[in-house]
């Protein structure tokens, strides 16, 4: 390992231990790491946005390609900064309105496609009892239907409707349990990765 690598990895080790130190109690090392990540992440995303959005979407079209249509959204963007003035902060509603209008308009058909139609297509598969695959398709379709019935609160959950809703709750509980298990496993994987990093670094540093 070169000196640079030793120093950079040493810094990463120090910050990792600083974050883990919160498990004991709140302390200055944790606070240093916490405040550092706020500044670094804000600076990182600002620069990424500058190079990946401002340069190709504003600077190049307006200055190099003379696409003056892009001046209009740029002016709208600048108007966002009127929020700093009490007198003129209402002007910032114009860019916010453009942002929300376009964003919501795009979101309506895309959400319909991604969250409703695609899951519906995937659920409407051949069903039956002759093979495990067909039976599983039947279980998925029944599970989706039951869980949707549970979400239907306009009718009281009693009688047969309540029974179907109850199966819906069981289905949802399996989903939540699986989600919990997968989340825990993901976090544990990250923890193992951090410990592996520390072990490897110390092994390389001290050669044991």
């Amino acid at each position: 390992m070169g000196t640079g690598e030793i120093l950079w990895n040493g810094l990463a080790l120090f910050l990792t231990l600083s974050i883990f130190s919160i498990l004991y109690k709140d302390n200055p090392f944790y606070k240093i790491a916490e405040h550092l990540v706020v500044g670094v992440s804000a600076g990182y995303f600002a620069i990424i946005l500058y190079y990946n959005s401002f340069i190709p979407k504003v600077w190049v079209p307006v200055v190099h390609e003379s696409k003056f249509l892009y001046i209009l959204p740029t002016i709208l963007g600048v108007l966002m900064w009127t929020r700093f003035s009490r007198k003129w902060s209402w002007v910032s509603r114009y860019p916010i309105a453009a942002y929300m209008g376009i964003g919501m308009g795009v979101a309506i058909p895309v959400t319909m496609q991604a969250y409703i139609l695609v899951p519906l297509y995937a659920t409407m598969q051949p069903i039956g009892f002759t093979s495990m695959a067909l039976f599983n398709n039947l279980l998925v379709a029944a599970g989706v239907l039951c869980a949707l019935v549970y979400f239907f609160f306009s009718k009281e959950h009693t009688g047969a409707f309540g029974g179907v809703a109850k199966v819906g709750i069981w289905t949802l509980m399996v989903g939540f349990g699986a989600g919990f298990g997968l989340t825990v496993m993901g976090r544990v994987s990250l923890l193992i990765e951090r410990f592996t990093f520390m072990r490897d670094y110390l092994q390389k540093l001290f050669g044991f």
Partner: protein, 205 residues
């Protein structure tokens, strides 16, 4: 002027963008791309607003000597360090900007998310009780999924089969039902915004 025109912009923008999705013309697609660029450009300038806000809050704490004010120098140092390095040395791999990303941002983020393993385990130990049928189902599912990758001797194969079945059948059904609920909720909210029923994002008069 202060309310009606912005609401009109939301209505026109929203209806136009929703309708153009179903118009398979090149002209329509070009307008769509231009409008999406609008959103990106406004977002770039909004980022400046966020940076200024972070700067103002940090400086304010230093000026008033609020509790833990000294840590705000670290926040400002990190912020300006990244911005100056990004602007003057570039963002290619191997530059100091990316070193700060890989050796400061990434380990802290990974460690913070890894910390949740401890908190989740602690919370689960205190909260998970198989008192009712539904909580037992949740508990058993979580246990089976968590043990999926762990060697369990002769029952490893069975556990993996059960875990795989849980993930692809009942879990899939639950996730699809939840996705449909999210979709319907999202569309309803978007319609409320476009039609001017939901206006809280514009702030108060």
């Amino acid at each position: 002027m202060r309310w009606q025109i912005p609401l009109l912009i939301v209505l026109i923008g929203g209806v136009f963008m929703a309708v153009q999705y179903f118009v398979p013309l090149e002209f329509s697609e070009r307008i769509y791309e231009y409008c999406v660029d609008w959103v990106i450009i406004v977002g770039v300038f909004a980022m400046g607003l966020g940076l200024w806000s972070l700067f103002r809050v940090s400086v304010g704490k230093i000026q008033t000597k609020a509790q833990g004010w000294g840590y705000n120098f670290i926040t400002l140092g990190g912020l300006f360090g990244m911005i100056l390095l990004g602007l003057f040395s570039g963002i290619e791999e191997g530059k100091q900007f990316m070193n700060l990303f890989w050796y400061i941002y990434t380990p802290i983020q990974s460690s913070m998310f890894a910390l949740l393993a401890f908190y989740v385990a602690s919370a689960a130990y205190r909260a998970f009780r198989a008192r009712t049928l539904v909580s037992t189902i949740l508990l058993l599912t979580a246990v089976v999924i968590m043990l999926r990758l762990i060697p369990l001797g002769p029952v490893s194969g069975l556990n993996q089969t059960v875990a795989s079945w849980i993930l692809t059948v009942p879990n899939m059904a639950a996730k699809r039902a939840i996705a449909m609920g999210i979709g319907l909720g999202g569309i309803a909210t978007a319609l409320k915004v476009v039609l001017g029923i939901e206006r809280s994002y514009m702030g108060k008069e």
